[in-house]
Each structure stands twice: as C-alpha cells, then as structure tokens.
C-alpha cells in the first residue's frame, strides 16, 4: 500500500486529499487548522488518515502541501529584520518605487509598509553599465564596513541588488563573498541569482521580499521536516510554488518568495486536470469563497503564467499562475452609497461577525444573506447541516441597510446584490479573457470554492458561456491539485538581441547553458533523466516597445527556421492582444526563459460506467427560489449531490446541495453527470 497525500492549509480548515495507488481510491479529509504552527494540523491530519487506513507512516509515498507561512509573514509584517546593499546614489529605490502615488484621488492613501527598516538601506561604491562594462569598480573595503554595520545592527538577512547586475553579476558575487566572510550566518539573497532580469525596482523588490521571508521559511522548513521525520515518514515533503508546481521543501529555503503566494495555484492545477477528464480544453476557473474570488484562464489544459505580480504592494518578478483575485465573496457587504448606488464589497464581514444570517451579531447584509433570502441557499442550515442560519436576520439586514435607503423592495434588493456581485465577477473574467483577445463564449466555466457553484450558471449566462463544470468536491480542489503537480524550475535571463537569423547561435547558446543549469537543479531534486522535460520561451517585443510578450519556443535545435516560426507566433499574439501587428518591423528578444520540469507520478483515476437509464433521484426537499431576472419565486427541487449517478441528466431549475457547496441551476440549463462524477451543466435554452 502506498499513499499520496496532498494537504492544503487554509485559514479555518486544513484539507487532505489522499490517493491509494493499488485500489485507485481517492478520498478527502478535513481538520481544523492550527494557525500558530500550521504544521501541527498537517501532522495530526496525516496521522488521522493513516489510522483510518490502518497504515504505517512509511507507506506514505508522497506528501505535498501548500504553505501559508510566507503569505502570513507578509500580511502580519513578521518577516526578518533585513539590510539592503545597493549601488551608491540609489539608497531610496525601495521607497521611491515607481514614483506614482498609490491613488490618484485619495489624498490619504499610503505606500506599502517598508520591508527594510530605517537606516538599513546601505550603499556601496560601484557601478556597472548597460553593456556589462565596469564603470566604477567595487570598493571592497567599504563593502566590508557596510556588512559589519549590518551585523552590528543585528539583521538576520541581507538583500543585495546593484544596478545592471543582471548583465554582469561580478560585483554582486563579490559582495556575497564578503558577506560570507564577515557574516556567514546571515541569510543572503543575490538579485542576479534570484531574478536576473532588467528593471531595477522590480528586481530589488523581489530580492528584498525573498530575504524578508527567508529566515521565517527556514525555521518553518526545519520544524516541518523534523515533525515529518518524527512520525516516520521516509519521503522528502514537497511544497507548492506560485507557478503551480512543487519543489522539495529544502529548496524553498533559498527562494521562499516562489512559495509566498502559492495559495490558489494548486486549485488551478486541479482544474486543468478535471478539464482533461471533461475534455474541456478552454476553461475559466472561478473559485469563490467567503471574502474573495480567484479567477484564471486555462487553455489546452495549461494554466497561464504571468511573470510579475504585486505582493503586498511590492512588485515580485516571479512566475506565477495568472490568477486575478477580487474582493467579492459570500461575506462581501452590500450597501447603498451617498449617490444612491448599490455597491457590493470589497469590504467583507469575514467569518466573525460574518453575514447577518450567521447569528453572530453581524448587521450588514452580505452576499450570503441575499442568497438565503432568494432561497438559493438552505434557509435553516448550511455547510451540509453543520451550521445554523437565520433567514429573518438576513431579511432584516437587507431591509434596513438596502431597502430603507433606496426604492428597492426586499426581493429586488436581494436579487440586486447578486446581480452586482456577479457583475464584478464578469468584469474580472472579461479581464483574463476578452481583454486578452479570447472569445469567452468558447470557454467552460469551472466553478469551485464554497460559493462558486452558487453563482456559476448566472455568471456564465451573463458572459454567453454555454457550459459550467463542477468537480466532485469543489471545496477540496487545492489539496487535490497537490497530487497532480510536477516539479518545475523557472529560469530566466535578460539579453536584448534582434530576432534575426544571425543571432540564432547566441539564442541557442543561452538556452543551452540555461538547460544545463536546469539539469543541475533537477539533479539536486533527484529527478531521473527519463522524467525530465524542458520548456523554452522568449519574451519578445517590437524594437522600441518596452513590454514583452512571452512566446513558447518548440523544444529541439534552435535554427533559423524555428526562429521564423517563433516570430510568426509573436506577430499573431501581438495581433490578438493589441489588435495589430507589424510583420516588417524589427522584433527584439529580451528575456530567455527555460522551465526545467521533473514529471511526478499522478493518481490514475478511472471513470465509472455510465448508467443513463437509472431513475432520477428523489429531491430531498422543495424550496421557493427566486432566480436572476425573474419576478416570482418558483418551487424548485433540491437534490443531494451524492444521489446523482454517472450518465444521468437532471434538468433545471434545481438546487443541488453537498457538504462543501450548493449548486444553483436555472431553468433552461441541464446537469449531465460524467463517469468521474463531474457535473457538466449546459445551457440548452434555444
């Protein structure tokens, strides 16, 4: 018996997905989180799972988890005390940033909190030019003094980022040596090693974030490995990265920033996998929870990756699954503002006091309250019966905070709240699809999270999408994703070259040396040769532009013909993104990217036979539901998800309840249950 275990640590619950190879059984387990030391809940849960299966710890063949340690350190501002070393004359780059004030009109808006404490942003005399030549040599004695000063100030980490180190890292490397000599116990991040790309503020900020998180992560990793070893698990645990892959936990010590905002990425990986089961190669994922919703686009079963995003107000140049998060969830608060407009979110009532219906003293009407008033959610108990709710409190909140301040009646107000929150979702979905040149109507909407399936059909309808997909366990997609990920190292370099045949040898040699670097990393991970795969990309732009488009490059030898093909893809992608292309213009290659991938064994799930002739299940109840755009409540059957059988088709309108979510299906839509127990819901209205 060998068990693969994926663990997703949430704020309230820690979810476990477990796969047993021989029987092919996949099951899920849930336990309360232990926020003070998240590893506690993980160990407890693993022990509980093993006990349930009467298995020994050494039967765990794989253990991966998504950690929130980095994310929490950032949110709670509990990172390491760190010093920064940069080029003389540029000590304030972190504070100046891009010199834009955070809000055009809000005169009180603040910059993000400073990661480098007062006076610990140090400079050394040195300067490299754009072409890598040394303009001013490094003053080594001064560097030594600076390092001693930082040691005296009791920093535990140092970030090193000097100008143009991505072209020529010689000064940064020498600074690193001096730190090793003077202050060997410091945690050090070198910008040219972490992210050798141009734009000093982004690179510096990424480097600083990494050093800020490093010592915290190191401590956690040591604790966690000890605990895992302590209960007798023999395998090296893995951790998710923001790019949707996993790396062994020891590797995260050097690049904690790569795990910092990995939270929702595993869910997207699982969505791509389920997309394969459903043969849906174009998917928008829609993960809606209590306070926010995460949205992303998957094409050809591959999530889209972006190479920069903002982390707690700072740019981080780290490949991440491109997920848009908006402040719209079940707990989002609705209000009528001074001008009489109905607004929903981004403020959330959280878990306490939570929506008014939770009976915890909340008086503000939330999206959940509206869903209860409309009959979409169970009006007595939610979460599979584990939590009581009060319909009257929901009505009262909407009445006093919305109806009394507008000309809306209770029904209109409740419906209005849903329409407005759905329009926020629509805007976010448009921004990952329509605005990137994709026709959203060709996509399926895969809904998960506690609230996704409640809103999915109506959001899909608004966008003209014809199919909604609901996985068997919409609440545990993240832990499932942890069983489906591969190991992946994303390498990048900047060197600007014209995209012409003469430069093919140089491009090839860049890729070659990066491949060697990737092989080195996979060696350290112990990935056997036959399980290695490499993906190549070039960031390209027209000469004079400054933003690049990332274009995949076919594996294999780099030739003039291959380059020609890549240029064609660039023109096409430019046309799709910006509405035009210029085939006769000079194209520049700016960044070289290589993903070194180690393929990991995955659960092999088999579909059940379809039994379309099975009688439809009996509804467990009927409820009066008011659907979007309707004026009257309609008597609607409520089903239990477990009662559905593969091959069945169930027509809307109906409600389908399960432990982790509630699905709302309007009239005209039909549920089809597939062999994996996924629900494919189609708009079959003429």
């Amino acid at each position: 018996m060998a068990y693969m275990i994926g663990v997703d640590v949430g704020g309230t619950f820690t979810d476990f997905s477990v796969f047993e190879h021989e029987s092919g059984e996949l099951f899920h387990y849930k336990d309360s989180s232990t926020p003070a030391d998240p590893s506690k809940a993980i160990i407890q849960g693993v022990l509980a799972v093993l006990a349930m299966k009467k298995a020994k710890a050494d039967s765990v063949s794989y253990l991966a988890h998504g950690t929130t340690v980095g994310t929490n350190a950032l949110i709670e501002k509990k990172g390491a005390k760190l010093g920064l070393i940069t080029t003389k004359g540029f000590k304030d780059l972190m504070e100046i940033g891009n010199q834009r004030r955070p809000s055009l009109y809000n005169l009180q808006a603040q910059k993000p909190f400073p990661l480098v404490p007062s006076g610990l942003n140090c400079t050394v005399t040195e300067r490299i030019r754009y072409d890598g030549t040394v303009d001013t040599p490094l003053d080594e004695e001064e560097t030594r003094q600076v390092v001693r000063y930082l040691k005296e100030q009791q920093v535990v980490a140092i970030a090193v980022c000097t100008l143009f180190s991505f072209v020529n890292p010689v000064h940064e490397l020498r600074i690193e040596e001096i730190i090793r000599e003077e202050f060997p116990e410091a945690y050090v991040t070198i910008s040219s090693k972490l992210v050798p790309e141009f734009r000093e503020y982004s690179r510096m900020s990424t480097t600083v974030l990494n050093s800020y998180l490093g010592p915290v992560m190191k401590k956690y990793v040591n604790n966690f490995r000890n605990s895992v070893e302590g209960i007798g698990i023999q395998v090296e645990p893995y951790v998710t990265q923001s790019n949707g892959s996993i790396i062994s936990i020891k590797e995260t010590v050097d690049c904690p920033i790569k795990t910092a905002v990995s939270g929702p990425s595993a869910g997207v990986i699982a969505a791509a996998y389920i997309g394969k089961q459903c043969q849906a190669d174009k998917i928008i994922t829609f993960d809606m929870g209590g306070t926010s919703a995460d949205i992303s686009l998957i094409e050809n079963y591959t999530p889209q990756v972006s190479n920069e995003r903002t982390v707690e107000g700072y740019p981080a140049r780290i490949p991440m699954i491109n997920i848009i998060t908006i402040g719209a969830g079940g707990g989002s608060i609705a209000k009528i503002d001074d001008g009489g407009a109905l607004k929903v979110g981004p403020k959330s009532a959280g878990a306490t006091p939570g929506p008014a219906c939770y009976m915890r003293g909340g008086e503000n009407p939330c999206v959940t309250d509206a869903n209860i008033v409309l009959g979409k959610l169970n009006q007595k108990k939610i979460l599979g019966g584990r939590m009581d709710v009060d319909l009257e409190l929901a009505k009262k909140a909407i009445q006093t905070k919305i109806c009394d301040k507008s000309d809306l009646n209770l029904q209109q107000a409740a419906n209005g709240i849903i329409t407005v929150v759905n329009s926020n979702m629509v805007r976010a979905i448009r921004s990952v699809s329509v605005e990137k040149g994709y026709d959203v109507r060709e996509f399926s909407l895969m809904a998960f999270g506690g609230a996704g399936p409640l809103h999915a059909c109506e959001v899909a309808k608004e966008l003209g999408m014809k199919e909604v997909l609901i996985p068997p366990h919409p609440g545990t997609l993240c832990s499932l994703g942890l069983l489906l990920a591969d190991t992946k190292f994303d390498l990048s370099r900047t060197m600007v070259l014209d995209g012409v045949a003469e430069n093919v040898p140089e491009i090839a040699s860049q890729f070659e040396s990066m491949t060697a670097q990737g092989n080195g990393l996979l060696d350290k991970e112990g990935v056997p040769q036959e399980r290695r795969r490499f993906e190549y990309f070039l960031d390209m732009r027209y000469q004079r532009q400054n933003f690049e488009i990332c274009i995949p490059v076919p594996a294999g030898e780099m030739t003039a013909a291959v380059l020609e093909q890549v240029l064609e893809s660039f023109h096409a992608e430019h046309k799709r993104s910006y509405g035009y292309c210029k085939k006769d213009a000079v194209v520049q290659i700016v960044n070289y990217r290589v993903s070194a991938i180690g393929i990991i064994d995955k659960p092999d799930l088999k579909p059940e036979a379809l039994r379309p002739e099975t009688n439809l299940p009996d509804p467990i109840a009927y409820r009066q539901v008011l659907f979007q755009g309707q004026e009257y409540y309609v008597k609607t059957p409520v089903y239990r998800r477990e009662d559905f059988v593969p091959g069945q088709s169930i027509p809307g309108p109906c409600i389908c309840e399960q432990m982790d979510t509630t699905l709302v299906v309007p009239a005209g839509w039909v549920i089809h249950v597939d062999g994996y127990h996924n629900l494919k819901i189609h708009d079959e209205e003429k």
Partner: protein, 581 residues
C-alpha cells in the same frame, strides 16, 4: 431624456464601461513605442456618450481629463453630428480647438455605431515625445507663441470609413524629429480605439438602449454625489492665493493664482478673477486644463470614489476671465502649462483647508519637474534620441499622517522610467544619483514628503538639455504651524572644471558637453502642525533614514540628536523641554 434605469443595472454597466476604458489603456501602454506611454503611462482613455459627455475614464492621471471632456463637442461643432460615419476616427492636439493640454498631447476619438445608430465614442489621449516645434521634445521654456511649440492639429479625420488617411499620417510624421516612434505610438492609439469600439458594440448588442440611458444616469449620479457633499458644507466664500515662479526674465514672479470658492447650498463656484494675466511664455493654462484641475480638486476632496465623468464638471460653476493665465487667448504658448496648472489644486486646497480639516493636505511639490535630453544617436530608424523624464517630489502632509516622499502630485501621476530601461535605450545617459533629498520635507508634527535629487551624466557632446519646473522660489506651504517644504533647483556640473552652476526653472536647449552632469532637485512638501509636537523618536527615525539632518532636527524640531559610532540617539538632556521655540 433617458428613462430611469434601476440602480443595479447602472452598477453592472458602470463595471462594463470601466473595463472597456481599462482595456484600451492597457493596449496603449503595452504596445506603444515612446517612453512617455510605455513606461511613464502618460495616457488616458475614456468612453464618451453620444452627446459628448465623458462617462467612464481610467484613473491614470488627471491632467489629461480636460482634453477628453472637450473633444467630441468640438467634432460635432465642426463637422455636424449627422456627418459622423461608421469607421471614422478623429485626431486633434490644438488646445484651442478640441485638443489637449499642449501640442504633444494628441487625442484620438472614434465613434461607435450599431448599424446606423451612434451609440457612443471611444477616445484616448497620450503624450508624444516630439511633434516638431522649436526644440526637440517640442516643449520649451521660452516659446512666445503656440506656433513655436509644434504642429497644430485642429480636429480632423485620421480614418474615414475604416481607411487610414495616409496623407494626414504622412504630414504628422514629416513634422516630428522621431517619425518611427510617432508612427508606433499613433498606431497603438488607433488600435486601442478600434478594440474599444468593438467592445462598445458588443455591449450595445447585449443591452440595447439601456446602455445609453445608463451613460446618462452615470453622469447624473456623479453630479448627485458631489452636490450631496457640498450641501453638507458650511455656506461661505473661501479664498486663497498661491504663486507661480514666473517664467524667465521677461515674466518675473510673482504670478498669482487666486481662487474664491463659494459654497451656497449644494452649489459650488470656483472664481479665478484676480489671477495673473496671460503671458507670452509657455505656462498659460488652456481653459480645458483649468477645468481638469478643478475637477481633480473636487473629486479628491468630495469623494475619491465618485466616478470620473462629466457629472463632476456639471456640479460646479467655473469662472476664469478670458485673457488670464488660466484661460488664455489663442495663440498664447502653453507648452509647459503643467507647472502652472499644478498650482490650481494647491490654491483650491489652500482655500478649502478650513472646511476639510481631516482630509486636506499641505502643498506638495506642485510641479511637473521635466528633464528633456536630445542629441544625435540612432535608435531604430530614428536618427536622434529624445529622452523625456518627469521627476516626482514631496507629497503633502495631513492632520493624520506624514506626506509621501518621491511621489507625483495633483494633476500628474506618471511612472518613472527604470534606470536600467533608460540606459539600455539611451546609451549616452548615465544615472549617478536618484535619492530622496534630505531636509526638503517641511517640518511639522506631520512631516511633508521629501523631494528627489537626481543626477544624470551625459556621455557625448552636443546634447541639448531642457529643464522645466516650478516651486524653485515659492515654497510649498504648510498648515497649522507646519513649516514650508524645500524648493526645487537645477544645476549643471561642468566636466571641464567641476564648477556647479544653478540654472533657471525654465532652462531651454542648453548645450551640454561630454561628461557634464545635470543635477535636478525637486521640491518637497509643507509640514502639518507644530514641529515641536512631533514625537522625538519620529524625528530620530527621520535622521536615521536621512530624511532630516541633525541640524534641522535641532533647529526646526527642537530635538537634539547625538551619535555613538554609527548609531544615533535622542539626547534627552540637551533636548530638554520642547515647545517654546
């Protein structure tokens, strides 16, 4: 006119219209050629209703609002609404005839049709680095007429019935020093409009005339929001006079910007009578820009979440006598108008400080400190380079917090160009310094934000330098006992003898030699409240961060800072009782 739309639908369509503006903005920024657009994001985009009211604008920077507001009415006036056809697109830059703030700001507007029916407009405006004129970069500090500031484009068609007017494009490209860059930028602007038009058509297909009624409602909504706030303000007349540094020897300071704000019920009037007369120097503020400046101040004070559209303008009355510096007559030069326009929100904030005690901020850097370097050197197929950068300064302090350091204020909010991006593109420029400037933040219980010191070394001969700024003489003011912030200054450090020469705040086309260094210091911001009330440990932190010098800590804050080795500490005994200066 339009029928009443329910509040829910309005919110849904507001989301939709904003996403159209944001999408077109993204297209320009990501595909344009010139640093102004691609790195500095000196771009604004909007959806405009069929009557010409702007409905949904991106919140990029406020200075470009003015031109977005006026363009469609100008097109109607000139061509007649009935003569606008599907596939048309219009271009303009003349600030006196439907264009932007100054000639480099080119606005392009495209009507959107559903069949024969005009359903709205998509417009964008962007700052082009050069459109001809007497100096590279077009903006000089000494033009005495609009004719010296570049090619004037009245409202004309750049596309007719879906076909590019190549002759117009040729004319424009022939009138710029950097045609390759210009063509790339204009293409980005035109393409963004085409996509925006498509999106508006899709929205109309989905919502029909409700979409248009909703545009009307959105404008009404913004007006209601402003008036609701005004109604709560105490009636009265609130006045303030701030000053612009002047413009060279011919137009010495002070040039007063005077505003009287009258609050009466839910009406708000801004009267600029008493402001300096227009001058024959390029800091006159065209009327649409004055409108934009008032718009900015109103939205910032009355509610930053009020949708940015024509409704805000409707809620206020603006009086600016013809012929004064904030409503000049044609062809007064306007190239560097932004330095003067920045003073308008300062004056309004000064006037309204008593009735917005919690949200008001002190005067910030109040300039748009610009460095233009031009010289021979090929980039792509262009034979000269024009480097254009705006450097931020101090942000105002408020009752509750220190001002932000190194930020753009008021009408502008452009990004800096990363040093590494600058030097990879402009290989003859080398940044030597880019740091906050000690003691430029006005002392106060809440300290004003700091200005920036930036040094650029020039690595070849025959480079022309133009430096434009303001608040080199009149300090950014503080409030409630807070001291004024530091002023800006431009210096040239000679390669030959190392001598340091201060230059005027409107230096134009100064020839530089290889090895010369330009040092730019931008103004800080005023402090808020008595500096002696600032807690000593905050002053200590300022000293450690290099924001306040040990001397200023003692002289202005009354805090004596001692030093032990490399560490600073508050010398409690020497500091003694503070408060009596």
């Amino acid at each position: 006119m339009g029928k009443k739309i329910d509040t829910v639908t309005v919110e849904v369509l507001r989301n939709l219209l904003m996403s159209i503006s944001e999408e077109t903005f993204g297209i320009i920024v990501r595909s344009a050629y010139s640093t102004n657009m691609k790195e500095r994001r000196d771009v604004c985009t909007a959806v405009i209703d069929p009557d010409g009211n702007s409905v949904a604008q991106v919140e990029s920077l406020a200075v470009l609002l003015g031109s977005m507001l006026g363009v469609v009415p100008k097109i109607y006036e000139k061509f007649g609404r009935e003569n606008i056809k599907p596939g048309d697109m219009f271009i303009a830059n003349d600030p006196y005839h439907g264009g932007g703030n100054h000639l480099p700001d080119i606005v392009i507007a495209a009507p959107a049709f559903a069949g024969e029916k005009l359903i709205g407009w998509i417009a964008n405006i962007a700052h082009h680095s050069d459109i001809g004129g007497k100096v590279p970069g077009s903006t000089s500090g000494d033009a005495d007429s609009l004719f010296q500031e570049g090619i004037r484009i009245p409202v004309i068609r750049i596309r007719s019935a879906g076909v590019l007017e190549q002759s117009v494009m040729d004319l424009l490209l022939d009138n710029t020093r950097v045609p390759q860059e210009r063509e790339g930028d204009l293409t980005a602007q035109i393409s963004a409009n085409l996509i925006g038009v498509e999106r508006l058509q899709e929205a109309y297909a989905r919502y029909g005339d409700t979409l248009i009624d909703c545009m009307t409602e959105l404008v009404d909504y913004s007006e209601r929001r402003v008036r609701a706030v005004v109604a709560e303000l105490p009636d009265g007349v609130y006045s303030y006079t701030d000053y612009v540094d002047g413009c060279g020897d011919k137009y010495p300071d002070p040039l007063p910007i005077h505003v009287s704000v009258t609050v009466e019920g839910n009406n708000l009037t801004f009267d600029f009578t008493g402001t300096a007369d227009q001058i024959k120097a390029p800091i006159n503020v065209p009327y649409p820009c004055t409108q934009a400046a008032v718009f900015f101040a109103v939205k910032a004070l009355m509610g930053d979440d009020i949708p940015a559209n024509e409704g805000i303008n409707r809620a206020v009355t603006l009086i600016a006598p013809k012929g004064c510096i904030v409503n000049p007559t044609e062809p007064s030069p306007v190239g560097a108008q932004i330095d003067c326009e920045q003073r308008i929100p300062d004056a309004i904030f000064g006037a309204l400080a008593p009735i917005f005690p919690d949200t008001i901020v002190t005067a910030g850097n109040g300039a748009c400190t610009t460095t233009i370097l031009a010289g021979d050197g090929a980039i792509g197929t262009d034979s000269v380079f024009i480097f254009h950068e705006v450097i931020a300064g101090g942000g105002g302090a408020s009752k509750h917090q220190d001002g932000l350091s190194g930020v753009q204020v008021n009408m502008t909010n452009t990004s800096n160009m990363p040093i590494e991006a600058t030097e990879m593109e402009f290989t003859k420029i080398l940044a030597r310094k880019y740091e906050l400037k000690t003691d430029t933040g006005g002392a106060g219980e809440m300290r004003g934000g700091l200005g920036i010191e930036r040094e650029l070394e020039i690595l070849q001969d025959n480079v022309l330098y133009t430096g434009l700024g303001d608040r080199h003489k009149f300090h950014p003011w503080g409030l409630e006992g807070g001291l004024p912030g530091g002023t800006g200054a431009f210096y040239r450090i000679s390669a030959e003898d190392g001598s340091v020469t201060q230059m005027g705040h409107k230096t134009t086309s100064l020839p530089l030699k290889k090895g010369d260094v330009i040092r730019v210091i931008t103004p800080g911001a005023g402090g808020y409240g008595d500096p002696h009330k600032r807690p000593a440990e905050k002053v200590l932190r300022d000293v450690i961060e290099g924001k306040v010098s040990v001397e200023a800590a003692k002289d202005q804050y009354g805090v004596v800072i001692g030093r032990r080795g490399v560490s600073y500490f508050v010398d409690e005994s020497a500091t003694g009782a503070r408060g009596q200066k």
